[in-house]
Amino acid sequence: MQFGIFTVGDVTVDPTTGREPTEHERIKAMVAIALKAEEVGLDVFATGEHHNPPFVPSSPTTMLGYIAARTERLLLSTATTLITTNDPVKIAEDYAMLQHLSDGRVDLMMGRGNTGPVYPWFGKDIRAGIPLAIENYDLLHRLWREDVVDWKGKYRTPLQSFTSTPRPLDGVPPFVWHGSIRSPEIAEQAAYYGDGFFANHIFWPKEHTQRMIALYRQRYAHYGHGSADQAIVGLGGQVFMRRNSQDAVREFRPYFDNAPVYGHGPSLEEFTRETPLTVGSPQQVIDRTLGFREYVGDYQRQLFLMDHAGLPLKTVLEQLDLLGEEVVPVLRKEFAALRPAHVPAAPTHASLVAAAGGAKDSTVHAVDDVTGKAPEGATR
């Protein structure tokens, strides 16, 4: 099972000091957090993508490429990549490039984005969110699998004899997750392709997650990718820890009470009861997280949200120490012991290459414009 963190990349005032970081500080903090994730033994760092203040990560592959250069093992991912407002051609190119630069340490999570005004900035309409996600991803899926694509759809200009470069590393596209909170259509989409499904699982009750995962598993089996319990499931989670749980509650409460998403609404106690948020000791986090499996089944990836709501970098790094040193080693052992042999681990570049029968160079060499011939020995 993979463990990691996902970040929204929000610039938020620290409610305990009144201080708001600059964009520059926040961007550098995100990098420091990613490097720390590798240092403490986590597997995945995933960044959000946003195109409006107070969020900084508008250019995920720039950031992930930089992090890739400074890490060795860390798997780089997104949470989420906007499949609605991004051009699927640019996603295909950017992430294939990142895949090469990181030697395969990349996967993606597709999401729609829920901010209405963002869509028109990219020439789109939020009311077409689901159809955009469906059409754009179908094109992206083909761009990574077919060397030459002829395509016509509703939401972008047609493609004739288009080759997305670079071709995926070793001929194997990055693994894709589809993220959604409560749209059954997206669970259906993930199931259709045999891709992973990721449930946000932080701001909403566990019943949403439970229903969506059950639907995804059922449809994954329906489309013949394996049995329902072999479907590839990821979950979010949100924790704040101190050795003494009372200290955790006391320290986190002002951040909770003023958080952009749920601040000034339910109490911390109500929210921890109604959603998977856990504020307490590392042992409490271990117990709660192990409990997720009871309502979604054995799953492949657990990401935690650790760095939002204005928490200072120093605190986040301390949290990552606790997560990496005290929580995740126990979770790894416990989850592994519970998982039946026929339930797969999360796909990685290596496992996908092996499943494809080995690596093959998939470079598409240019065709001579006059003769129409490819150079000797080139793949076409």
Binding site: P131, R182, E185, A187, E188, Q189, A191, P205, Y262, E274
Partner: protein
């Protein structure tokens, strides 16, 4: 014997509340009418006051806490709805509106609804027509023609023969008519139900219906 459920929503804020009193009288009259026609009736009365914090939390977080979820499922899954609010500043009170704001906008489509209101003076009575009825029109509910407003003077001579009592009976009869025209409700809609399969979504049209 047909089994019918009747949800009663009262947005009265004081306790005891004349809004709740009107809601109870409308509920009893509708129940009696349905029973007289041979149905078995289950009444669910909701005092929104008890869920006021949950309603606000729902607006801020986007989800209903468990207790409110149960109430929403009851209201959206019933055969008929009786909705009663005090009139504040020429309209429904904020709690009443907020509750209906957090419902899925499709969840009361074609639902028979009886609206009622209370106010400090009879001069508020048309608020039912210019505020409450249009809100349910937006929700595409079927609001019965008689809306029942109770002013202080209605309670003062609120005998069995009073004008208020007659309006309550007429409105209850209209609601029972609308309920009887429809097959029994099958409960709240499942927001996680998949209604189309992938090939249909992709526009390839050759998908199979999903059960």
């Amino acid at each position: 014997m047909t089994r019918r459920t009747l949800a009663v929503v009262s947005a009265g804020l004081s306790q005891p509340s004349s809004t709740r009193l009107l809601a109870d009288q409308l509920a009893a009259a509708t129940r009696d009418e349905l029973v007289r026609r041979g149905s078995e009736v289950e009444l669910h009365v909701v005092d929104l006051r008890e869920y006021a914090h949950d309603v606000v939390n729902n607006m801020l977080t986007g989800f209903a806490p468990a207790a409110l979820r149960e109430v929403i499922d009851t209201v959206t899954g019933a055969d008929g709805l009786i909705a009663v609010t005090p009139i504040f500043s020429a309209s429904y009170n904020g709690l009443f509106k907020s509750f209906f704001d957090v419902l899925d906008s499709e969840s009361l489509v074609d639902r028979p609804v009886l609206i009622g209101a209370t106010g400090g003076t009879a001069r508020h009575s048309l608020a039912l027509e210019h505020a409450v009825r249009p809100m349910f029109a937006y929700l595409r509910s079927v609001v019965v023609p008689t809306a029942v407003f109770a002013a202080p003077e209605d309670w003062a001579d609120g005998t069995a023969d009073g004008a208020l009592r007659a309006r309550i009976r007429r409105a209850a009869g209209e609601l029972a008519d609308q309920i009887e025209r429809r097959p029994p409700a099958t409960g709240p809609a499942d927001p996680f139900a998949l209604t189309t399969d992938f090939l249909q979504m992709l526009g390839r049209g050759d998908g199979e219906p999903v059960n």
